[in-house]
Assembly symmetry: C2
Homo-oligomer: 206 residues x 2
């Protein structure tokens, strides 16, 4: 399974094969089929196991978060670590493959679900009582953050300075959210007042 993850990182979803995986693992190609049946099943199993492991790695830190500010700090650390250890690259490649391959779609969705569920839970706790609760649905925001991390990871692969600039800008904008968060009831009234004239009426049809 480690070989599978390394092969995805090294060759991308387009270049992954039983042979490249076996080469990364230092074993024979036939073992992929003996142990996992098909290549897709191996990728699915490896992805699931790796994600369960990574999410568990942060569970205590997620639980300790008490404010939006602390969550933003944890988010920055998490992004940095998961980018460095290649987990984000693996998820991005699997997600690209999942667009078209039904056998990859379900396990990839399940893996991302592990992340979004965790983030959503913390957001729900942290946003309770904040004026931002008027604006940000925890479920939607958790998914937006996950999608954003993956988009940034892919962008980083072709333009690292640009990705750094993008990340720096997002951190600056997060300051804005933090400010509003800590303003409390005053900001809540201001936000609510402004929303009447500006807010779009619910999710748009597609």
């Amino acid at each position: 399974m480690d070989g599978a993850l390394q092969a995805i990182r090294q060759h991308g979803i387009a270049g992954v094969s039983a042979r490249t995986v076996a080469a990364c693992a230092g074993v024979n190609q036939a073992l992929v089929f003996y142990h996992f049946g098909t290549l897709d099943d191996l990728l699915a199993t490896a992805c699931q196991a790796a994600t369960v492991d990574r999410v568990a790695h942060y569970r205590d830190r997620f639980a300790a978060v008490r404010s939006l500010r602390e969550l933003l700090e944890l988010g920055r650390d998490l992004h940095e670590q998961e980018r460095r250890n290649g987990s984000l690259a693996v998820l991005a490649q699997l997600l690209a493959g999942a667009q078209v391959d039904d056998r990859l779609a379900a396990p990839t969705a399940a893996a991302l679900r592990l992340w979004t569920d965790e983030i959503e839970q913390v957001l729900r706790r942290v946003l309770a009582g904040s004026p931002l609760a008027e604006l940000a649905d925890p479920a939607g925001l958790a998914r937006a953050v996950t999608a954003g991390f993956i988009g940034l990871e892919l962008y980083d692969g072709i333009d690292r300075p640009g990705a750094d600039a993008a990340l720096a800008t997002l951190e600056q904008l997060a300051v804005l959210a933090d400010v509003v968060d800590e303003l409390g009831p005053i900001a809540r009234r201001a936000v609510r007042g402004r929303l009447g004239s500006r807010r779009r009426s619910g999710p748009r049809s597609r």
Copy 2:
């Protein structure tokens, strides 16, 4: 070239081949090599031409934008249209392939550059004089938006309701930016005052 784009959408970067492209175009496989030399060269040429075309399609509307609010509205329309016509899917797949394939990296970066340059230019104009200019670097924000669109596109492929929720939340948060934008000098002083105690000192090392 249309066949190449359709093949990417239909089979993903992992499933694209001279044969699948030729099948989509209704011609013989050997023509790919006669006209473009290699498959990668065809993908690069098709991506470049398609992106130039799509960006040109919005040039007048970008130029007409006079406020952040108008830009947000145009952004929503653009996202909706480019998602529907499959341009975003093509860019996402090429970007995934570009992580690992050097022959795809340069043309993909060039294509995204066409988008980010356009967006950055409008942002620079629209943010001038806004309190948000203290927070958001136009170049970084343009890249963050582009990366975000691609991340959302990929997420959409495995969880459409989740992607809709994410998009709805981002639109709600954009309202916050719009509010700050229109508050003008008052918000500028508030933001500037808060930044001193909160802002991180520049981009972080990696």
